[in-house]
Amino acid sequence: MWDTPHLYGRYIGISIRSQMQYRASFVMQTIGHFLVTGIEFLAVWALFARFGQLKGWSLPEVALLYGMAQVSFAIADAVSRGYDLFGNLVKSGDFDRLLLRPRTTQFQVAAQEITLKRIGRLTQGLAALAWAAMALRLPATPERVALIGAAIVGGACLFHGLVILQATAAFWTVESLEIFNILTYGGATAAEYPLTIYHDWMRRLFTWIVPIACVNYLPAYAILGRPRPPEMPAALPWLSPLMGLAFLLAARQAWGFGVRHYRSTGS
């Protein structure tokens, strides 16, 4: 068990090296990815240029939300690539081979690949976050920095959990379920803006079922020092990253359930 990080490092090394083989192409794709994701912020900026404010939220405040969401998503995206490929593994029957190795299936699936070129999204997310911090003149107190970090990690856990759930569906059906794309990409897009602007049903979906709210919206109340709605407990902004972690743990349970199903019904 203790050599797992070392082994993960070996897998990553292999994945990176094989991506680096095509260095020029890699650079080009990374730049391209940066542009494609960065253009979203351009859109946000353009909308604020026209409308001025969004239901009481200013551009720098929304930039903070945007940056946190993008960074969380980018981290999760980079480490989740193995689960994207998982469907093929089941279809080809190669998942059996993973069961024949003395390691957990989750580790082996996750370690298959890490996608570096998605670093473009990470970079522009960090840039937005940094600009927001400057524009808002946020004092970098230890609690604030810790909360931002925790929220980002919690958000990454949430998105990673969604990918795991999507991959788990492959144990039952060969079709990849659209619903998860909606939750992952739709959720990430929705998280770029404050949750208050959405209609009730979407707010409730993203707070209680798939807690996208924990990615940035809930922590933002503490980070920005905004006055809380009366029904929101004082501790909630600080504890919200745990929601992402809880979601991930639940997703891992579902995966285990999927593996058990696979092993009792065969492929």
Partner: protein, 263 residues
């Protein structure tokens, strides 16, 4: 003409078969559309003054964009990518047809088939539940249809250019990704062009991309009068010819680099 029409029909039918993959976009586009609708709604409620477009128009514009996303030249056909990567291009040259025309035609079929499959359910749902409106008038609808045909021709000319540029691997990727970004933004797919600052709109007027999305959509919602259709079609056609010419010229140069792999 006949071989190209045959290819068009065959590819169209083939893509229609991949129903699962085609429908796969439906949920995602619906979700994006919804998020965008709510965002615009909130923005509109947050400011007082008049805007170049009414909220209702923006909503319809957004839904049109989500429904017709497949027509936008921001991605390339996977089959063609595989063809180039695996060296099958050489076999294409053995066919007694013009290679550029061949690729152009199959791209048209691919885009149209995907769009047909994805847009229909989305439009139905959006119109019934999410405030998407029908065309402003019959004339507007017809004008929109004509402009969309022009947009498809233009989009496929651009896509064919990407395909050709993939003969130079790295450069091809660069062209495609950078162009995808520009296309998404400058065509109006991300934000309706009338909502952008005036200086940006001056730039987009000089570029080909607005003919892909903004111009046809505004004919639909009626904010561009149908009398301007001829001018729009001319603009689209001009850019289409330019891309076709560039594509053909590059293809000739690129074919000299093609190596046959395998064996």
């Amino acid at each position: 003409m006949t071989p190209y029409f045959a290819i068009l029909r065959a590819r169209f039918a083939a893509v229609l078969q991949y129903r699962a993959a085609a429908f796969a976009g439906f949920g995602t586009q619906l979700a994006f559309g919804l998020v965008l609708i709510y965002v615009y709604e909130a923005f509109y409620r947050s400011s007082r003054g008049p805007q170049p477009m009414a909220l209702g128009e923006v909503v319809t514009y957004i839904w049109l964009g989500q429904a017709l996303l497949s027509l936008l030249p921001w991605d390339t056909e996977p089959d063609v990518r595989a063809l180039i990567r695996d060296g099958g291009v050489a076999y294409e040259l053995l066919r007694p047809v013009d290679l550029y025309a061949l690729w152009y035609v199959r791209t048209v079929a691919w885009r149209l088939a995907r769009a047909a499959l994805r847009s229909t359910p989305l439009v139905i749902v959006a119109m019934v539940f999410f405030q998407m409106r029908p065309p402003a008038s019959l004339a507007a609808g017809l004008a929109w249809a004509a402009a969309t045909a022009g947009a498809v021709a233009l989009a496929c000319a651009m896509t064919s250019l990407y395909h050709v540029s993939m003969l130079w691997t790295v450069a091809g990727e660069g062209v495609t990704t950078i162009s995808a970004t520009l296309v998404l933004f400058l065509s109006g797919m991300m934000i309706p062009l009338p909502l952008l600052p005036a200086w940006v709109q001056r730039i987009t007027a000089a570029l080909p991309f607005r003919g892909l999305v903004d111009l046809p959509f505004r004919l639909y919602i009626g904010s561009i009068p149908t009398e301007r259709l001829a001018g729009i079609l001319l603009e689209q056609a001009g850019w289409t010819l330019a891309f076709v010419a560039l594509g053909r010229w590059l293809l000739n140069r690129g074919l000299r680099r093609v190596a046959v792999q395998g064996g």
